[in-house]
Symmetry: C2
Subunit: 199 residues, 2 copies
């Protein structure tokens, strides 16, 4: 049995983009497998009484986040732009990601969606954009049908429910056993925890 | 002129404790001076519509914070307990800190208050606790009078207003020139920014 960390991400989340672009190499360096778990923040924010991103609800926090992301992306050599609107609707992308995981291509697909959104400012709820992301990830266009299947829809609902049960309140989050780590800043801590676990 | 970073902290803030215990050595290693700027989060949270700490308002976030602090303090060899009530009333401690800064003893005083609160679980609004903190910082008990002077009261109000103007929405925060950095996780970035500034 391989040691692993679960990576909980939401496509509209800026800081999830940061982790999505680096988690695989960081995990590989520690001999850890990554379980990619897309979920929706919308229902979790709604349970906290929020109808949009806290970065929109709290303007000072929002202004800071955009500048923080700019600085971090510049330091890491990642492209970054402010997509409009923000947050984007990541529902279809999340369903497609689950469909892509059935073909072991979730990482390639997720990275391609993040780069389209935060690199090019593309609308990730638009079908032509998603088709292009599927193509870049080496996936077939018929995944759009699979993504709309009852199995995938219900799997995404179950995953979002599981996130809530795990105590997740934001993204990205990482779980190693029963330990929860929140934010790209905690990626190393999560991986170190997973690497030290007795299994 | 020496390069410097401003360290904005609130006594009731758990993550401010982390930075207060390490900022001086981290800054010294980079040849940076630290300007200790106590302020009150209460008015800033109130402007966001919050009447207490977001860690109380959002239970999942609160549960996570206590566990996160536990893990970090254990890794850094810092004592840590959950003070009751939380958040504490840090008004008098903040006024005393400004009075202590007039005698160049703000760091010693602030660290002693944080250790009393998060190490021993003491109530930092209680006069005997504050007297003990003054004593440990090599300061005289008559600073309690100075802390209640109109000058110090108005200096703390002005500092809180300055924090808001600087875009600060949480603690700890750090400013280097016009750049704002939020959270103990950004301490190194703030110091590196200050070290690289042309002055």
């Amino acid at each position: 049995m391989e040691r692993s960390v679960a990576f909980w991400f939401e496509f509209a989340s800026t800081y999830s983009y940061l982790s999505a672009m680096r988690i695989s190499s960081a995990a590989k360096a520690r001999g850890i497998a990554v379980i990619w778990r897309p979920f929706l923040l919308g229902p979790i924010f709604a349970a906290q009484g929020w109808d949009t991103s806290p970065f929109n609800l709290y303007p000072a926090k929002g202004r800071y986040m955009w500048r923080d992301m700019q600085r971090i992306c510049a330091a890491r050599g990642l492209p970054f732009c402010h997509p409009d609107p923000f947050p984007q609707n990541g529902l279809m992308a999340a369903r497609l990601a689950l469909a892509a995981s059935e073909q072991d291509r979730i990482q390639a697909f997720a990275q391609s969606v993040y780069l389209a959104q935060f690199g090019d400012g593309a609308d990730i709820s638009a079908e032509p954009i998603l088709l292009d992301c599927l193509h870049k990830a080496g996936l077939d266009a018929n995944l759009l049908d699979r993504a709309q299947s009852p199995e995938i829809k219900s799997a995404l609902r179950a995953q979002t429910e599981a996130a809530s049960v795990a105590g997740i309140f934001g993204a990205p989050s990482f779980t190693s056993g029963t330990e929860l780590f929140w934010g790209d800043d905690r990626l190393e801590q999560a991986l170190d925890h997973a690497a030290a676990r007795t299994i």
